[in-house]
Subunit: 196 residues, 2 copies
DNA sequence: ATATCCATGTAATGCGTTACATGATTTG
DNA sequence: CAAATCATGTAACGCATTACATGGATAT
C-alpha cells in the first residue's frame, strides 16, 4: 500500500507521466522504495479513479499523446493523513541474518563469499545513499531543485533537512552491516582457518 | 521461498509437528523470519510431496493422531545447497525511512510520535535479540540444547558461534536505528521548537 | 467442567515479480 | 536511418496476509 504514498510523495514536487514516475523509482525514491514499472501504471490508474490524482492528455510528438498526472487536493489530504498516521512495522524477514545463523551448514569458502557479497552490496548501497544525501544537501538533485522552487522559502530547510536525515539513517545502517560482515569474516577464519 | 528453508533449518534440530513449527516462528526463528500458521501447514505438505521431509502419524490422545515431520536426506541436501548459494538481496522497501524523507508533510508532534515509536519498537526488538543471543551462548535455549545434543562435539562451537553472530548483527542494527531516531527527535526540536 | 493448549486447516484478497509485448519519438 | 529513449501496458504466477473455522486433549 505504500507504493501509492510513494507516488503521491513524488507528485507533491511536480506532475509526472507514468514513465517519469517509473524513472524516479530507478533512483531517488527507488533507494528507499522499489517498484517495477508494471506496478506503477495500474496503480496510477487506480489512484485516478479514486480521485487522488488527475490525468491530463498532453501532446507528445505529432501523432501521439501521453498522460500527465497531477496530485489533487484529495491526494494531498490523503498523503498528509498517511504521514500523520503511525508506521506499521511489517513482519521481519531477513534472509542474510537467518542464513548466518546456520553457517555451520555451508562450506567455509561459501560463507566467506556470502559475507564478501554482503560487504560489496552494502558498500555499493552506501555509496548511492551517501551520493543522494550530498545532492540533496546542495540541491543539485533535479527533483529537489524543482521541489524547493515550488514551496516557500521557510519550508526549504525542513524539506532538505528531513531528506538528508532519512538518507543518513540508511548510510549508518549500511555501515553497521559492513562491520558485521567483517566480523563474520574474522569469525570464519577463527572457526575454519583458511589453508595457507 | 525462504520459508521452506527456515522450516528445513528447524527440522535439522529435531522432528516437529506443524504446530511445533508454528510455535518456533513465534520465537527463535520468528525473530529473523516471520510466517503465519496458515502458511506453515500447506508448505509442510508441499515439502512432503517433494520429498524434502517425511510425515509420520503419531498417536495423540486416545482417539487422535498428529503428523510429525522429519527432514529427509534430500531435504538435508536441499538445505545445504541453499546455504551454499549466494543470497539474493531483495528490492528495498523501507517505510520508516521513506516516510522520514517527507516529514515536512506531517505535524511535528506526529513526527515526534513516530520517531518515539521507532525507538520503542527497536528497543523491544533489541531486547528480544539480545536475550536470544544470551540463551544461545549458554545453551539455555531449548532448541539449541536439543541441537547440540544431536551433533558431534566438534561442531558445537560453530553451531553456537554463528547463531550468536547472527543475532549480534540484529542487535547492532537495532542500536543504529535507535540512535538514528534519537537524532531525528533532536532535529524536529531544532526545526520546530516545542511550545514551552 | 471449563479453560487453555494443541492441532490443523480453508478462502478471499492483495501485493509484488517475472516475463512478455508493442510502438512512437527524439537524438546523433 | 539507426539507436536510444519515451510511453504504456498485459498475463501468469507465487508468496503473504487476514479472516474465518473447527475440534480433540490436557490441566486445574
Amino acid at each position: 500500500m505504500s507504493l501509492r504514498y510513494a507516488l503521491l510523495a513524488l507528485l507533491t514536487a511536480e506532475p509526472l507521466t507514468g514513465y517519469d514516475a517509473a524513472k524516479r523509482f530507478g533512483g531517488s525514491v527507488g533507494f528507499v522504495w522499489h517498484a517495477p514499472d508494471s506496478q506503477i501504471y495500474p496503480e496510477l490508474r487506480r489512484m485516478e479513479k479514486e480521485g487522488l490524482i488527475e490525468g491530463e492528455q498532453v501532446r507528445w510528438g505529432p501523432n501521439s499523446t501521453k498522460t500527465r498526472y497531477s496530485i489533487t487536493d484529495d491526494g494531498i489530504r490523503a498523503f498528509r493523513d498517511w504521514m500523520n498516521a503511525p508506521v506499521d512495522y511489517g513482519p521481519i524477514r531477513d534472509a542474510p541474518h537467518m542464513r548466518a545463523a546456520y553457517f555451520e551448514w555451508a562450506d567455509p569458502d561459501r560463507v566467506r563469499e556470502n559475507l564478501q557479497r554482503h560487504i560489496d552490496y552494502y558498500t555499493e548501497q552506501r555509496a548511492r545513499w551517501a551520493a543522494m544525501r550530498a545532492s540533496i544537501l546542495d540541491a543539485s538533485h533535479p527533483t529537489i531543485a524543482t521541489r524547493i522552487e515550488k514551496y516557500p522559502a521557510q519550508e526549504h530547510e525542513r524539506i532538505i533537512a528531513y531528506k538528508a536525515f532519512a538518507y543518513q539513517g540508511l548510510v549508518d545502517r549500511a555501515t553497521a552491516e559492513i562491520e558485521w560482515a567483517r566480523d563474520g569474516l574474522d569469525l570464519v577464519d577463527k572457526l575454519s582457518p583458511p589453508s595457507p
